[in-house]
């Protein structure tokens, strides 16, 4: 099987940027060949006649649209892009992101207000998920953030949040 088409398909389907290591692991070919394929693809897509690019983000690669096309593409995704999180949602997210795993009661004690509704919204938007139950009376649910959360804020992973050394 040819390497380049395979790498192209992987850069297309992936949700997360893929590192050369990861690509080598999936395809089962030497990292040198993966790098060669990536380089070739990057060169090909850089042509002005192409609408996509091989974008390098945080040590990984992913197909993405070219920036100059954004104005037109945005008209397609109107509404999706203009979605803005409410203040309550942002604050709750901040607390969950830094304190996870965290219970509802803990969040409420920080924000000083009930957060049931906000939690539901964040859950629906798949920014948070239940990560287990706390070993405490009532075994309250523990919440954590999701991949969706990272993507929304353009974070590579939670380590990009200043955590946890400073909060302990």
């Amino acid at each position: 099987m040819l390497i380049k088409p395979l790498v192209e398909a992987l850069l297309f389907t992936t949700e997360e940027p893929l590192s050369p290591d990861k690509l080598a692991e999936i395809t089962g070919v030497a990292i040198k060949e993966v790098r060669e394929a990536l380089w070739q693809l990057q060169k090909e897509y850089s042509h002005a006649e192409r609408g996509l690019q091989v974008m390098e983000i945080a040590k990984g690669f992913q197909l993405a649209t070219k920036p100059e096309l954004a104005p037109v593409l945005e008209t397609m995704f109107k509404g999706e892009k203009s979605y803005i999180l409410s203040q309550a949602a942002l604050e709750t997210l901040a607390i969950i992101a830094y304190r996870q795993p965290v219970t509802r009661v803990d969040i409420e004690s920080v924000r000083g207000v009930k957060v049931d509704g906000v939690l539901e919204t964040l859950h629906k938007r798949r920014f948070i998920r239940t990560v287990g139950r706390k070993d405490a009376p009532g075994r309250p649910i523990l919440y954590g953030t999701t991949k969706e959360f990272l993507k929304y804020f353009g974070l590579k992973d939670l380590s990009q949040l200043p955590h946890p050394a400073l909060t302990e």
Binding site: A9, F12, T13, T14, E15, Q53, M55, I57, A58, Q62, L63, A64, T65, K66, P67, E68, A70, P71, L73, E74, F77, K78, E80, K81, S82, I84, L85, Q87, L90, E91, L93, A94, I95, Y98, S109, V110, R111, G112, K151, Y152, F153, G154, L155, K156, Q160, L161, P162, L166, T167
Partner: protein, 249 residues
């Protein structure tokens, strides 16, 4: 002997006809009825949902068989009308079997289409995420991406020597910070130092709130962040003319 489970009476009839290697047009009602009833008797596993349908067909076959002998109808307490399974002649049965055979063949074809389509991946499968690069971020050299912003933030925190206090209730609000930042940036189109947006001696809670506010403002393109030179400090300003994108309020 283990018998296959059938999707319904037509599927069973069809199987019997194929097994007997008879042309559908040539079926003998007597023989097919005998085989059908024999099958039902031997059926170990019966799909209870379909039991009545199988019995309706049995009754129908018996009716057709008896019609051949005598002009009488076999009474059944099942209601074939309800299932629209009334079949009044051998010809009609043949017609129905042919029709069923056609759709069974179509279903088989659809199965192969399904298999072929399973081998093709589109982006919607993985969430259909839009990977849109902010044009303004790329337009000016030295522009800073969100990960860059994050790094700056981490450096900021690293500078803090004392450990932060507990996050106190109502100590911070992202919403207020958004307003505060927008106010601080007013009229300063040449840019404000990133660090200047974090109040001196701010606790962790306030830093987080400020930082989330900045993230949100970048995301909705209210502000832009850039560097005047590599490794120089980050500058933040209002985005006057959102780079080709629609302003978001």
């Amino acid at each position: 002997m283990s018998l296959p489970v059938f999707e319904g009476p037509f599927a069973l009839l069809f199987h019997l006809i194929e097994k007997a290697e008879v042309d559908i047009y040539e079926i003998s009602i007597s023989e097919i009825t005998a085989q059908y009833l024999a099958y039902l008797q031997n059926m170990e596993k019966v799909n209870l949902d379909l039991a009545s349908e199988f019995l309706v067909m049995a009754a129908t076959l018996l009716k057709l068989k008896s019609k051949k002998l005598l002009p009488v109808t076999v009474e059944s307490d099942l209601d074939p009308e309800e299932l629209n399974l009334t079949i009044d002649s051998r010809e009609e049965l043949v017609q129905r079997l042919l029709e069923y055979r056609h759709f069974k063949a179509v279903a088989t074809e659809l199965r192969s289409y399904e298999q072929a389509q399973k081998r093709v991946f589109v982006r919607s499968l993985c969430g259909g995420k839009i990977v849109l690069v902010n044009p303004a971020e790329e337009a000016d050299a030295g522009a800073v991406t969100l990960p860059g912003l994050m790094e700056a933030f981490q450096r900021l925190l690293a500078k803090r020597e004392q450990l932060p206090q507990e996050i106190a209730p109502d100590d911070f609000s992202v919403h207020d910070k958004v307003k505060q930042i927008m106010y601080l940036l007013r009229g300063k189109n040449e840019g404000v130092d990133f660090l200047a947006l974090f109040p001196r001696g701010a606790g962790l809670a306030e830093i987080i709130a400020t930082f989330f506010a900045l993230l949100e403002l970048v995301r909705i393109r209210k502000i832009r962040v850039w560097q005047s030179a590599p490794f120089s400090s980050l500058l933040v300003a209002h985005r006057q003319n959102p780079g080709g994108g629609k302003g978001v309020n």
